[in-house]
């Protein structure tokens, strides 16, 4: 399955990318997707501890099992206000 990935805030500059998609086997987890992304965008690795990941409009942990049609977003700590 092909999973759409969005980057926000300075992750766009870090990756040089706003939106990409990643091909993954069925039943893949967010952690699998994340590993693929780090290979593709090595600069993400340094931010691993602070990276937030959402599927759709909800936060998910790395063991979340991806479904076709999921839209994944990666971004640094939020700073509203």
């Amino acid at each position: 399955m092909r999973i759409a990935v969005h980057f926000y805030s300075y992750f766009k500059e870090l990756t040089g990318c706003e939106r990409t998609s990643v091909e993954l086997p069925p039943e893949s987890r967010l952690s699998d997707l994340y590993q693929k992304l780090i290979t593709q965008f090595p600069k993400l690795a340094a931010m691993e501890k602070s990276t937030l990941i959402a599927v759709g409009v909800d936060y998910q942990t790395r063991d979340y099992v991806l479904k076709p049609g999921d839209e994944v977003s990666l971004f640094p700590p939020v700073q509203g206000g």
């Binding site: 926000y8 805030s9 971004f75 939020v78 700073q79 509203g80 206000g81």
Partner: protein
């Protein structure tokens, strides 16, 4: 609990928002928090902040926070406005109104909401 949420490029018109305030006769406390862009970001002088939001998720996360607020405190109404795009130094980027029977719950809920917003609502800033 009445809710109003706006994540917008428009300026925050405090007088207009206050003119629209509605509170029932059992409400005794209204709190406003206005977050204003400061001229120093760390040690660096800036002229504005450019706010970016993942808007759909930001709205959803605010609604989840409102759900929790509603369970936790007897709040009659919450209104929140957050600007995105370029907000100049000295201009409000965030406006929050909480209406409650007493000041204790109004202060507690308002502080909690802002703390949680800064933890979960996907909005970011870039100094300009």
């Amino acid at each position: 609990m009445k809710r109003s949420l706006e994540i917008t490029r428009d300026r925050i018109d405090e007088a207009a928002l206050i003119a629209q305030r509605q509170l029932s006769t059992e409400m005794g406390a209204v709190i406003y928090f206005v977050g204003v862009v400061r001229g120093l970001e760390g040690d660096v002088q800036i002229s504005a902040i450019d706010y970016e939001a993942f808007q759909k998720m930001a709205e959803h996360q605010f609604q989840l926070l409102f759900d929790q607020m509603e369970k936790r405190w007897p709040i009659e109404s919450v209104r929140l406005m957050h600007r995105i795009g370029v907000v100049k130094v000295n201009e409000p980027s965030l406006w929050v109104e909480i209406i409650a029977p007493h000041r204790g719950e109004a202060f507690a809920a308002c502080q909690w909401l802002i703390d949680e917003m800064k933890r979960v609502v996907p909005i970011w800033k870039k100094p300009v």
